[in-house]
């Protein structure tokens, strides 16, 4: 166990002893995204705790310390013809693997390639009592004990300080083609659902600025053949990087940005300013929709009032369970308090 890790654990122990909460961060790229503003003064910076600790391309597994930038992981993988399947935002090279897990962020391939929640195999974690714990491992399947690794995805660091992450990786696709065509958003949704129901190598489907974009990726023969059948204009794949890193002009204004996670068949919003991603499962909106479809989750992703609740309301039963779970990991409530919900 490294000194650096022991020092991080000692910081948590001290915080618990003083009952002084910590704001845990890496590259600080998501401070104003996803959750509420965490207005505690003492911070725990894990960005220095970085580096790839283990990588065996033939096992399709890579391990890295939490502060490792996504871009560093991507270049190491690319050398071996592999990639992070979940295409996380790199936020100008500052985003870290720890923060990506905490935020459960993923790119446009989510419905087909999963998010980091789907790729994480194991974590090393410091819980709210300052204990260094390991869950999961470096193998593809593991049901010994509860799946604490996956639980970290989207917990915004409130259940523990993520120190190291083990991930499943995939080979880079042999070929990739992007098709574009002009459609209305309603038409785009119908097409996305139709295409996604076909056994073709689809790994991206989005609609923005009046255009439907489809990404085909995989074996060259399959990609080429499908592109011919489906038709449309062949364009470069820049749109996918712009969506992944949120650098597309749609995201430029700093006004409120709402994210609706729903079924691909949910009716289209009539808002003029919207972006549809994930084959219809993710809708980016500038104002909250009038009604939220059954089972959907609305999140004020960025901007707006981040002192109030920014995530979907939980029913009473889950609120109780989630609070008890938070206490199970962080009895003193010192890790990113209030970041997820005001009451947590």
């Amino acid at each position: 166990m490294t000194d650096a890790l022991q020092q991080l654990a000692a910081r948590v122990c001290a915080a618990k002893a003083d009952a002084t909460p910590l704001y845990v961060h890496g590259g600080n790229t998501k401070k104003h995204l996803l959750g509420r503003t965490c207005s505690v003064e003492r911070t725990l910076d894990i960005s220095k705790y970085r580096g790839i600790s283990h990588y065996q391309p033939q096992e399709l597994v890579i391990s890295a310390r939490a502060g490792t930038p996504i871009s560093e992981l991507e270049s190491a993988l690319a050398e071996q013809g592999q990639m992070l399947p979940f295409e996380p935002p790199r936020y100008a090279g500052q985003a870290t693997i720890g923060g990506t897990l905490a935020g459960n962020l993923s790119g446009p391939g989510r419905p087909w390639l999963g998010s980091i929640r789907d790729s994480v195999l194991g974590v090393q974690l410091i819980n709210g009592s300052g204990q260094i714990l390991e869950f999961g491992g470096k193998v593809m399947k593991n049901v010994a004990g509860y799946d604490v690794s996956r639980l970290q995805a989207g917990a915004l660091g409130t259940l523990g300080v993520i120190c190291e992450v083990h991930l499943k990786v995939l080979p880079l696709p042999e070929a990739s083609v992007t098709l574009a065509r002009d459609t209305s958003p309603d038409e785009a949704l119908a097409l996305m659902t139709n295409y996604a129901g076909q056994p073709k190598p689809l790994t991206g489907a989005c609609w923005v600025n009046g255009k439907l974009y489809l990404r085909l990726a995989g074996a060259a023969s399959a990609v080429e053949h499908t592109a011919q059948i489906w038709g449309g204009d062949r364009v470069d794949g820049a749109i996918w990087t712009q969506l992944q890193d949120m650098t597309h002009s749609f995201f430029t204004p700093s006004a409120e940005l709402w994210r609706l996670a729903t079924t691909p068949t949910a009716p289209c919003s009539d808002q003029a300013d919207q972006c549809i991603d994930w084959g219809g499962s993710q809708r980016w909106l500038r104002t909250p929709p009038a009604s939220i479809p059954q089972g959907a989750h609305l999140n004020l992703f960025s901007g707006g009032d981040r002192q109030t609740e920014v995530r979907g309301k939980l029913d009473q039963v889950q609120q109780t369970l989630q609070l008890r779970l938070k206490k199970a990991f962080d009895p003193a409530g010192i890790l990113n308090p209030g970041r997820l919900y005001s009451w947590m």
Binding site: Q56, N142, V143, S221, G312
Partner: protein, 396 residues
């Protein structure tokens, strides 16, 4: 076995398929619906459910959620947890709540992920919504026999290194081949020391391309026999042997003890050699079935439960295999769960603090320890007793 004083709650009669939504590609199910029934119901829409445990004709989706079951296709299509959208659960207090939702992200903690694979310790799953996939245009199986486990293991590595993710990649050793072939009459090469079944699916062009690549790789690694399925009936027959390999061991032995460690794929030759040494040591035969794609090893230790000494030896043999799995960087259970049987091995994978964290999670959901008492997570006193025994402990 359940706790002798417990009430047994059977959910197998809740076996209705509540809804199949072909457009959203989802199915809403009661927990007793069998895994295969989901794909059968979805087939009319050209869809299927990805995870396919070998027991899929009998195992239920509720059980799949409890164990986070995989199956032969999970390297490419994921485990149960990757194919769920929504789980309705009763808490131990009897309150109903829905984990997950219609979209891919849900507010708060991902309790659906936590409940998946939790062996019924956190709540009672009463409804499951799964994702469905479009049925591939074509699927073909390449079957290859090898003269050694090592050659087969190397061939597996070479397939992955070539950037191919097969839909399924399975290995069987000589004893497993023999038992499976006796039942299924699939035409497995009975003289082979190891058999690989590699399924490739996708569009017609893609499958042709990959079948050729895989066939070349197998030949380069010295395959002693090679066969490619020509139609779906032949493909089903080739899988029938593999899918019934566990119970087919009943043809060779009165009882078998199935282990479930997961290991790094590259360790398979080493681990199988060690298992063969242990087999000699404990004087019990052991057949091996290996999810080669994802490293999940199922050694099947043969014994006769009528002989108490054999039973005891089988249990020690199994424990050694699990600790070996942990020692090479793996885990004690890939998909069968801990239950009662592997409680003693939990401390070889987890430290006391980690087990304590598990206990705290259990308390958060089930403070009085009402659900599946005694299973899954060892009580710490037991661990201390177990640790006192002279054993290897790999945790650093």
């Amino acid at each position: 076995m359940p706790h002798p004083e417990s009430v047994l709650l059977g959910l197998s009669k809740l076996n209705n398929i509540l809804e199949v939504d072909p457009k959203a590609r989802t199915a809403r199910l009661q927990p007793g619906v069998t895994n295969l029934a989901i794909s059968e119901a979805a087939a009319a829409h050209g869809l299927y459910y990805g995870p396919d445990p070998s027991s899929q004709i009998a195992c239920s989706i509720g059980g799949n959620v409890a164990e986070n079951s995989g199956g032969v296709h999970c390297l490419k299509y994921g485990l149960t947890v990757h194919n769920l959208l929504c789980v309705e659960m009763l808490t131990v207090e009897g309150e109903r709540t829905t984990l997950g939702g219609g979209g891919l992200d849900s507010p708060g903690y991902d309790l659906m992920a936590l409940v998946t694979g939790s062996e019924g310790l956190l709540g009672i799953v009463t409804e499951v919504t799964v994702k469905l996939l479009p049925c591939p245009e074509v699927a073909r199986v390449v079957m290859a026999g090898f003269d050694s486990v090592r050659a087969a293991g190397d061939a597996v590595g070479a397939v992955i290194a070539a950037g191919i993710i097969p839909a399924g990649l399975e290995m069987m050793d000589a004893l497993a081949i023999q038992a499976a072939e006796d039942f299924a009459q699939a035409g497995y090469p009975k003289e082979a020391q190891a058999l690989l079944l590699c399924e490739l699916d996708g569009t017609a062009e893609e499958v042709d391309q990959h079948v050729e690549a895989v066939t070349n790789i197998f030949n380069q690694h010295g395959a002693s026999s090679l066969r490619v399925s020509s139609d779906d009936a032949e493909r089903a027959l080739l899988w029938k042997g593999r899918k019934s390999a566990f119970p087919a061991i009943g043809r060779l032995s009165a009882d078998y003890y199935c282990m479930d460690g997961t290991i790094p794929r590259s360790q398979v030759s080493h681990v199988l050699e060690e298992i063969s040494k242990l087999s000699a040591k404990y004087q019990l035969r052991c057949a091996n079935v290996f999810h080669a794609g994802d490293g999940n090893l199922h050694p099947l230790i043969m014994f006769d439960s009528g002989d108490p000494q054999q039973l005891a030896r089988a249990e020690r043999f199994g424990a050694d295999i699990l600790e070996l799995s942990v020692a090479v960087g793996g885990c004690i259970t890939g998909e069968h769960g801990v239950g009662l049987e592997k409680l003693n091995q939990m401390p070889s994978q987890f430290s006391e603090a980690e087990l304590h964290q598990f206990e705290d999670i259990k308390h958060a959901f089930d403070p009085a320890l009402t659900l599946n008492p005694g299973k899954g997570i060892p009580i710490l006193k037991r661990c201390q007793e177990y640790r006192a025994l002279p054993r290897r402990h790999s945790h650093d």
